[in-house]
């Protein structure tokens, strides 16, 4: 209990003193996670829509696989990305290991199945409603996908936020591929792991509270900006 109150006090102190290190790692956390969410959204939403409206052999297998990949172990993803981008790996020549870019790649791999799967479910339901209409209106396949993504945007926002939520709290993969390097690849989760390892529970908890606050703030901001949960909206 004492540690928690100490953590809260430390979090408050860091915030009101505009601690430079805190703001740096918070900004990097946001940058990496928002970038990964953007990448996952750009891939996941059209893919989810495409899976919802197309019938092809092995479709059920693909969807089952996608759902299974929602539980991808971050440490394993981190390890695979590390091997691929390490100096002797196939993409080692790019020199991306221990950079924020490779952290974005790792997080995007982890959350793309989540975004795709939730998007697929949301669009599948909407497609059931719209199917006859869009066929009747002679909409092309791409026009159907556009209509489903646009009209299902609030449900799809939930998919993106679920991906963001998973990524912002992720530590295993980014620790391996980013290396938790001070002023380079240190983000909130890896900093928490480091402080905990050092026995600095107050600081670790402080960073934890800030991480939770950040996740809630981003979710609230998105909901407010997109005006969900207001009258007469879907």
């Amino acid at each position: 209990m004492n540690s928690i109150s100490l953590g809260l006090a430390e979090a408050w102190r860091l915030l009101i003193t505009f601690d430079a290190d805190l703001f740096e790692i918070t900004a990097l956390s946001l940058r990496v996670t928002l970038s990964a969410t953007l990448v996952a959204t750009l891939i996941g939403l059209p893919l989810g829509a495409w899976l919802a409206i197309n019938r092809f052999r092995m479709r059920r297998v693909v969807i089952a696989l996608l759902n299974a990949l929602m539980g991808l172990p971050p440490v394993v993803v981190g390890l695979l990305v590390y091997v691929v981008f390490s100096r002797s790996g196939p993409l080692g020549v790019l020199g991306l290991l221990y950079t924020p870019t490779v952290m974005v790649i790792a997080q995007a791999i982890i959350i793309t199945p989540i975004v795709t799967s939730i998007a697929h479910q949301a669009i599948r339901d909407l497609w059931a409603d719209y199917h006859d209409l869009l066929i009747s209106l002679n909409a092309t396949r791409w026009q159907r996908i556009q209509a489903l993504i646009w009209d299902g945007r609030r449900a799809l926002m939930t998919a993106a936020l679920a991906g963001f939520g998973r990524a912002i709290g992720e530590v295993g993969a980014v620790m391996i591929v980013g290396g938790n390097i001070d002023h380079a690849t240190r983000i909130l989760t890896t900093a928490i792991a480091l402080e905990t390892g050092k026995g600095e529970f107050g600081m670790a908890l402080a960073l934890g509270f800030i991480l939770i606050g950040l996740a809630i703030a981003v979710n609230l901001a998105v909901h407010i900006l997109s005006r969900t949960e207001t009258g007469s909206r879907w």
């Binding site: 066929i135 009747s136 209106l137």
Partner: protein, 238 residues
């Protein structure tokens, strides 16, 4: 000169689902002008026939042919469903959507949608979300959206089911105006009064078969089949 999409010819069409015969075999031709009303008890195949003609059902046997050489056949016909399928958009955007698909610029599409909304009595609802409309307004929206491309053929599946007298009258007025403007209409209804008011021609279906076709006046005066006679009398058909 654009080739008209009519006549529409169905030859030996049969529709089966799960081994069960839903419709046919039947052959028919849709041509000329006016309003054809499909009548028959529940399960007689009215909705299935409309969907087959519009291309929403994959038939098991037979052929459905529009006038040879006609382009963009699907975009030149429209369908109004019994339960209106409304997009999650404002009324104006719902009505304008077919024009959006055709690549019409947004401003021009909205202006045309406003004209259509006024024509069906939805001028005051343009900026409302479609979900808040009443049942009659939703059906009028669906009609405005169907008519915005000025279709050559309009299919309607019981467009006034569950609507009150006033809404029914308004929708019938829209339909007669569309017919007078040259749109060929094929619709189903259970409402004998509506069929008498609107139909130029009646097709009577029973058990998935087209058992009688006749000019409206002749059908209501002296139906040729026992099933149609019983239906008009109000008897419960097996």
């Amino acid at each position: 000169m654009v080739t008209p999409i009519l006549p529409l010819t169905l030859r030996d069409v049969e529709l089966r689902r799960g081994g069960r015969r839903i419709l046919g075999p039947l052959s028919l031709t849709v041509s000329g002008a006016g309003i054809t009303v499909l009548m028959g008890p529940n399960g007689s195949g009215k909705t299935s026939l409309l969907r087959v003609m519009h291309g929403l059902e994959r038939i098991t046997r037979g052929t459905v042919d529009w006038q040879g050489g006609a382009q963009d056949v699907r975009a030149r016909q429209a369908f109004v469903f019994q339960t209106p399928i409304l997009m999650r958009r404002k009324v104006a955007d719902c009505i304008a959507y077919p024009l959006h698909l055709d690549g019409v610029p947004r401003k021009a599409a909205r202006a045309r949608a406003a004209e259509m909304a006024a024509a069906v009595g939805l001028a005051d609802a343009l900026d409302k979300p479609s979900a808040v409309l009443s049942g009659g307004e939703k059906q009028k929206l669906a009609l405005a959206r169907a008519l915005i491309r000025t279709p050559e053929v309009l299919f309607l599946d019981e467009p006034c089911a569950n609507l009150d007298g006033r809404s029914t009258r308004e929708i019938e007025s829209i339909l007669t105006r569309a017919r007078d403007a040259g749109t060929r209409i094929v619709m189903s209804t259970h409402d004998l009064g509506q069929a008498r008011r609107l139909a130029d021609e009646v097709w009577f279906l029973y058990g998935g078969l087209l058992v009688e076709t006749a000019a409206s006046a002749a059908f209501f005066a002296a139906p040729r089949t026992a099933q149609a006679a019983a239906y008009l009398k109000g008897d419960l058909l097996p």
